[in-house]
Symmetry: C2
Subunit: 234 residues, 2 copies
């Protein structure tokens, strides 16, 4: 007969508010399935403790004075220790949530949330899932969609988008321009003369209302040409 001891998960807490830190530790200790291996009131100390104790998960406060939580997430992930980060915050700031999730937080919970929900979040994250409470994911998505709104609008509205005026051939030429290829290079790739390429390029400039290839390339990239990439400010 094989008896399985469920190994307690190692948790590390980072929060500049010491009372809160102790409060969570108590909560997790009472819960019984967690082992709080360390607490820290700033990121630097926290990083050292992480290296030392290799916790399964770190609860990281986002709003700290010295080094901000986002930077903390990045530095923890740089350790390459598959330590998961659950972000903690007092506010449901959409921008902060977005950025935290973007750089790899496995979840984000508010300090005001019920302790049961915190426990649940930790367990979900430990199970390899990503956990964002409904209220926060809703905020996240508003922000997320907002980020795309202008871009999408610009790209979807065929009016306005000067790229739509380009002919098939002109698009091919522009695509090669966006790879930083010279007239001669384009001519060779398309099996046409260099002069023809120049003619196409000039027409492209006219249509995109730009003066040189760099501007044309920038316009193309910023307006959804090519691999259809869209930007999000970090």
């Amino acid at each position: 007969m094989r008896r399985e001891f469920k190994k307690k998960s190692k948790v590390l807490l980072i929060d500049d508010n010491y009372e809160h830190l102790v409060g969570i530790r108590e909560l997790l200790n009472i819960e019984g399935t967690f082992d709080v291996v360390g607490i820290a009131t700033n990121v630097s100390v926290g990083l050292n403790l992480i290296k030392k104790y290799q916790p399964d998960i770190v609860l990281l406060d986002m709003n700290m004075p010295d080094k901000d939580g986002l930077q903390g997430i990045i530095e923890i992930s740089k350790l390459n220790m598959d330590t998961k980060v659950l972000a903690l915050s007092g506010y449901d700031d959409a921008d902060l949530i977005f950025r935290a999730m973007k750089i790899g937080a496995k979840g984000y919970v508010l300090k005001t949330m019920a302790s049961a929900q915190l426990i649940y979040a930790i367990e979900e994250v430990l199970n390899g899932k990503i956990y964002l409470p409904l209220a926060l994911s809703s905020r996240f998505f508003e922000y997320f969609q907002q980020s795309f709104r202008e871009e999408t609008a610009k790209q979807e509205s065929d009016e306005e988008n000067l790229l739509s005026y380009l002919t098939q051939r002109e698009e091919e030429v522009l695509e090669l321009l966006t790879q930083g290829i010279t007239y001669k290079g384009v001519a060779n790739k398309l099996f046409i003369s260099e002069t023809t390429v120049k003619t196409h390029v000039n027409n492209i400039f006219q249509k995109l209302q730009v003066n040189d290839r760099t501007q044309a390339v920038l316009y193309a990239i910023n307006n959804g040409f090519l691999t259809k990439k869209v930007k999000i400010a970090v």
Copy 2:
């Protein structure tokens, strides 16, 4: 005394599966707070019905043969009628969820989910919220973070990134190059001679291992220079 009649919300259903269509209609009718103003088995017909009945919300199946659901969302949003779209799908395809949310779906629910959850989702969306069930938001976030992983890794690792070899002044020059400015323009902006700009630019080319400004600009953009923008494939 003022009596308020809660106005029923107008709902429109689009799904190529007729049985499913009727099933949902029945469900919503029984619920009583919804008024199913129309059903359609394809997007084209659906669009006309939307124009005609101006529903508050459209339940749109993502997996349809003729015109796919994503396109449907785009076309509905192009109508500019603040009709909200709740995406419906049989599968929890992360890519599909991601793209649907990106282009503005207010929610995404699986056909296999309990009818109570569907009702709840509709109500949330009608209340102006964005609703993504936990299971799906989890999938979404995996995909979302995955999209950023390579980019982030590339940008965070200061080794490898040739941009880090640039001096302060060279970065300034490069930044201006990425705006499509000529040598002369850069010289004026930085109050230095055109020759100096050329020297800087040449040094930049050396460091970035490229041959011309277009390539330099492309390198800069693709490696997190500038406004720190990050790409997501659509």
